[in-house]
Subunit: 382 residues, 2 copies
Amino acid sequence: MHFDPSTHPHRRYNPLTGEHVLVSPHRTKRPWLGQVEPPQSSILPSYDPACYLCPGNSRAGGLQNAVYDNTMVFENDFAAVLPPPGPVAPAAPHPLLTTEPVQGACDVLCFHPKHDLTLARLDLVDIEKVIDEWIAVYYKRGAQEGINYVQIFENKGAMMGCSNPHPHGQVWSLSTVPSIPAAELSSLQRYSLSSLPPSDAPKGPKGRPCLLCEYVHFEMGVAESEGRVVVKNDHWVALVPWWAIWPFEVLLLPYRRHIPSIAHLNPSEKASFADIMSRMTKRYDNLFSCSFAYSMGIHQRPVPPQDPHSSPEDDEGNIAHLHLHFTPPLLRSATVRKFLVGFELMAEPQRDLTPEQAAQRLRDCSEVHYLDLKVDGTSDHP
Amino acid sequence: MHFDPSTHPHRRYNPLTGEHVLVSPHRTKRPWLGQVEPPQSSILPSYDPACYLCPGNSRAGGLQNAVYDNTMVFENDFAAVLPPPGPVAPAAPHPLLTTEPVQGACDVLCFHPKHDLTLARLDLVDIEKVIDEWIAVYYKRGAQEGINYVQIFENKGAMMGCSNPHPHGQVWSLSTVPSIPAAELSSLQRYSLSSLPPSDAPKGPKGRPCLLCEYVHFEMGVAESEGRVVVKNDHWVALVPWWAIWPFEVLLLPYRRHIPSIAHLNPSEKASFADIMSRMTKRYDNLFSCSFAYSMGIHQRPVPPQDPHSSPEDDEGNIAHLHLHFTPPLLRSATVRKFLVGFELMAEPQRDLTPEQAAQRLRDCSEVHYLDLKVDGTSDHP
Ligand SMILES: [Zn+2]
Ligand SMILES: [Zn+2]
């Protein structure tokens, strides 16, 4: 019997986390009888007097926002962690019940003063300002005593539990490296020490193989119609990873050289990063003609290099390869979401649509935002 | 500074899966601004002519249900896996892109003919019939050629993407052991080979320590008011595990002896299992006076022993310790759910309410179902 990945159930291995996903491609035609979500409202004012993120408005803690022009950063009034110093760890009452105190800070980062914009609707120059702000926070928090990890992420849409449509993300800085990036860093470390057939992919520190340099190099060589690449530009590629769990999960990767963090981007790589974010989020909105909900996060060096002039070869942290994950919940329309429940909570993540089919759907989307289309289908945008 | 687990942010380690959870107990007071869910409708007919699980009705595949009295099992018309034989694995196009074909079967198991009942509303004798049916399916599928794992689970509530309120669960039988139980089995294996201070907890095969026998033994010894135990009976205990991710996550564990699977339960342990399920699900419904949504799953030996007369000592699979996970999404009312998003998808699960606080809330709930209360607050139930 011939194996057909778009027909036969199979598992795919995620070499970044060491987990599997069960793929059931024959099942994409089953009827949908489940819950539908309220559609995301797409008509918003550009300023909302009740929004705690709009310029000049008051926040929960009583503080007032600046009348900001580009981006704005402030500490979350309900932070998940508190600044150091913290108490010492108590003795475990049993070896199976261990406690590790965590310190840190939670910042909120507004992407733009206008309440009704999103990454998909921002100009490239404004997305570059967001990246600059991410780099600034990464440097600032990463240099603080006791901070060993900085997580930049965005949670977008009511479907993702996000209470405010104003374009913003978060940065959580912690004394510990969290489980998922820790697993990814271990995998990158293990891969760099493995003996593999030589390839012409870029290499990581000390000329050793990098899991993500190898992976993205392979994906760029697959014929588009059979592959997982959605869109690429001079330095970055957006693809649906081989091991994707979410229906339209996407990974953004720099493919030309090994880049440990956003602090290592040169100006052209940074402009290219803004471009790929813009093009990918426009495609997402166009997929179901809605403001597409997602969680997004950057994985990179846990903190930036202390000495920016140190040789990248000398620094163990440079084993990291900068990448950005998009994990959107929508499945088949603007109102039908995927639930991670049942078998997936108890046994293993599972998907019906194959990553190759998802990539094809996203490749078929326009890069002109649906809200910018005139009624006759043309656009004023370049 | 004195460490207070109900005030200071900390991480707890899950020795079953090897993952951590970030606990932010100081944050339970933050205001809720997010999405609210439609309340679960609680007034249902006992027979619904449109339900594909009610006795005598037709299913999607055109087949007709028997007019069943207790439980009913049938193969899912849209199974996530297909029966063997399957095609052989294709060669990986790159070592990072591996494919493993999966075969198996997906069964649906109706708990009761009445459309409007749930485990919380079933009599004990009917819950025992559900357990008997689980045991029968576990034996039947586990004995089939090529089946190496049987996952019993229930997904309850529209909030969990479950399209039909008729009381039912599922059983997925697979040629591979999925990621989560595989991780648990590795942890149990590792623990059994470790050298630990002696305790008077029950022991696993060959007199070696069992992670879950040790854990539940420790929890039973903690003073109730500081502990995580919700309710216990002759053989079983329900507790909020030290490492719980979901606000009201619960683990059901047999605590008197090491029990590898539901096939190993004696009649008294089985009756006790039905009792603890009934008491726990009643408390869940009473917590927010609603039909409480959850995913629930049984972890145990991957398949039952082929030879029921083999010595339990000889059988490596008996390293497993039977337990049942409840993972409910509700957070603070019948309409506010927890979302696993943002930081949690990108970095690490996080919770605000501590497991000890959750256990206290569940201990405070009545075991008389709120729908059985008379208007004056009394009950006809024993
Ligand atoms: Zn706003
Ligand atoms: Zn029914």
